[in-house]
């Protein structure tokens, strides 16, 4: 059918299709509230009216009970390592250089972990139950973002026993239950 002789390598076998859609993203009510506090240097959780557990960052509900949460609870600057991974590949759009630690951290006063970076530590000595504290950016750089906390660094405190992880109160952990 074609007048010119075209070799099969010249045939179209693939096309580049840009699919870019613009959205006006809205943080949910609970997330908005949480980020406004983070903007002021505070990490807040929400307590479930059913089971009493404290969620952080709160999403406005207790997923276990399916109940809305509204009671705000201030959380500590200290946290416990629930688990972690040493990541050897870069995160897109993030300047951090591998290898770095991504840890599941339970802040004191909360009953659930969130994910954050750990630094100022020897990667090989990071361990489950380890105590850490938040290192914040300078106040003038604070925004509505969890990375106002630059990372968490180890504390010189005794480890939290496994069964106590996720149950450390706001008053902290001094090696005594």
């Amino acid at each position: 059918m074609s007048e010119e002789t075209t070799s099969s390598e010249d045939d179209i076998t693939a096309i580049e299709t840009p699919v870019y859609l613009t959205y006006n993203f809205t943080a949910g009510e609970a997330t908005t509230r949480f980020l406004h506090q983070v903007r002021k240097g505070k990490v807040m959780g929400q307590r479930c009216p059913g089971c009493g557990n404290v969620y952080a960052p709160a999403r406005g509900s207790c997923a276990a009970c399916g109940l809305p949460t509204s009671e705000e609870v201030e959380l500590g600057n200290k946290a416990t390592v629930q688990s972690f991974t040493i990541v050897w590949i870069p995160i897109p759009n993030n300047p951090i250089q591998p290898p770095y630690i991504v840890a599941n951290l339970v802040p004191d006063g909360a009953n659930i972990s969130f994910i954050h970076l750990m630094s100022e530590c020897d990667n090989d000595s990071v361990h489950i139950g380890q105590r850490v504290e938040a290192v914040w950016k300078p106040e003038e750089e604070w925004d509505y973002a969890m990375d106002n906390i630059r990372y968490f660094r180890p504390l010189d405190e005794p480890d939290v026993p496994i069964e106590m992880i996720g149950k450390v109160p706001l008053s902290g952990w001094e090696g005594k239950a």
Partner: protein, 149 residues
């Protein structure tokens, strides 16, 4: 309730789509300013070529070259083009039945609104450098017959 946090963001990727033999053949022909369709099991010619018959689901592989001219069988007028649309100026989307095809295709028509009508004859306006995309047909425009302007 604290002030709402809103932020615009773009969700997107540039997908690499492998075409397979039928779509690939169509796009390859487009690059040479030719339009082909496939013949369905009931003899209908589909343009752009369907890979699978819409009734029997069997793979279609008989290609038929059709004209780059045809007739508008339906149209709508875009008085306020969206950002994603191919033109900034008002234009029409149309179902265009190409000569030699039995099934109309959707594409844009660039013509004044007053000239748009069902049954109007149109011809493909090819993009300057066809690259093997549906947009190699930049749009359709009113047909110019020999002797005319």
């Amino acid at each position: 309730m604290s002030d709402l946090l809103r932020q615009q963001f773009v969700l997107g990727y540039t997908y690499t789509r492998s075409t397979g033999p039928v779509v690939g053949r169509f796009l390859t022909e487009l690059r040479q300013r030719k339009i082909v369709g496939t013949r369905g099991d009931d003899g209908r010619v589909f343009v752009p070529p369907m890979e699978f018959d819409p009734v029997t689901a069997s793979a279609l592989d008989e290609f038929v070259e059709v004209s780059d001219r045809g007739e508008v069988v339906s149209w709508c007028w875009i008085s306020e083009p969206r950002d994603s649309h191919p033109f900034d100026e008002p234009f029409a989307w149309a179902l265009v039945l190409l000569d030699g095809a039995d099934v109309p295709m959707v594409h844009a028509v660039a013509a004044p609104e007053a000239e748009m009508h069902t049954g109007m004859r149109v011809q493909a306006r090819w993009s300057e450098e066809p690259r093997g995309y549906i947009t190699d047909i930049a749009c359709f425009e009113p047909e110019v017959t020999q002797g005319e302007g």
